[in-house]
């Protein structure tokens, strides 16, 4: 290989790298580091008037659950609501955490889009969201019976993701 071709090869390699990242850009989602770790200590007032607070202890019930972070103001959360209702009808227990929300707005949202949640915690200053390592809404965590986070789903759950959610719940049951 003649030395004068070396710069050309470097140039081709550079163009190849740029093309690769243009075709397959890196995702921007930041995943939580708490997967396979216990839910951090939390205590959130209930978004349902008169109900007890949602605590990290109440998330270790012995049975796997979903923890769904949503907001009444969040459009993709409206889109995923029917899929959450389907999971609820299949017997999945879903705890909701309403991010940066008011109880009245949460109630209106649930009235309009259905209520798949057991308990709902109110996280008005995103403190629980940051404590969980979540970067936005909607996100869903699969939590096992001991309160350990087993999986994180970033973005709304669409119909294609439901089999994976069920699989994750089944694995969390072991």
């Amino acid at each position: 290989m003649k030395p004068r071709f070396i710069p050309i090869f470097f140039f081709i390699a550079l163009v190849a790298v740029f093309t690769w990242r243009l075709v397959y850009p890196p995702g921007t989602a930041v995943y939580s580091q708490l997967v396979n770790r216990e839910i951090p200590p939390l205590s959130l007032p209930s978004a349902r008037p008169g109900q007890p607070p949602v605590t990290s202890a109440s998330l270790a019930t012995g049975k796997p659950q979903l923890v769904n972070l949503f907001g009444s103001w969040c459009v993709p959360c409206m889109a995923e609501a029917p899929n959450l209702m389907r999971l609820k009808q299949e017997g999945v227990s879903i705890v909701g955490i309403a991010i940066r929300d008011r109880p009245s707005a949460v109630a209106a949202f649930l009235g309009e889009h259905g209520d798949p949640f057991g308990a709902i915690g109110l996280d008005s200053d995103s403190r629980a969201q940051v404590a969980l390592g979540s970067g936005g809404v909607p996100e869903t965590f699969v939590v096992d019976g001991k309160g350990v986070i087993r999986r994180q789903f970033i973005g709304g759950l669409d119909a294609d993701s439901l089999p994976e959610v069920r699989r994750a719940l089944a694995e969390a049951a072991q």
Binding site: V30, S32, R100, D125, S126, Q129, G136
Partner: protein, 133 residues
Amino acid sequence: MKRVLIALALLSAPALADTDLPPPRWADEQLPDARQEAAAQALMATLRCLVCQGQSIADSDADLAGSMRAMVRTRIAAGEKPEAVRGWLVDRYGNWVSYTPPLTPLTWPLWAAPLLLLGAGLWLARKRFARRR
């Protein structure tokens, strides 16, 4: 024409929407203690906003950035050291949330690349430095 403009204005509303709750108090209010505020600001300038990932939480207008600023200020006002707060956030989000990544087998090129490239450039231009007779 007016109806066209109104329709366009309605269509230009953001697609994902945002909360209409006011930001937490300490998102935009400075701490009364100047030294604590300076420490908080120094820390905030080196924490990445997770929504607008090219900005620090000090610069970002994202709602989550405001909540993170409030959290930083609250913790520093309570006496926590800035590095402890950074460590807590890195524990939640990983090294990407901090603008000061640690030296690991993955990140060593950040420091080594400028030196290597400088060395490569000098080697390529080595004939220029040879003594001419």
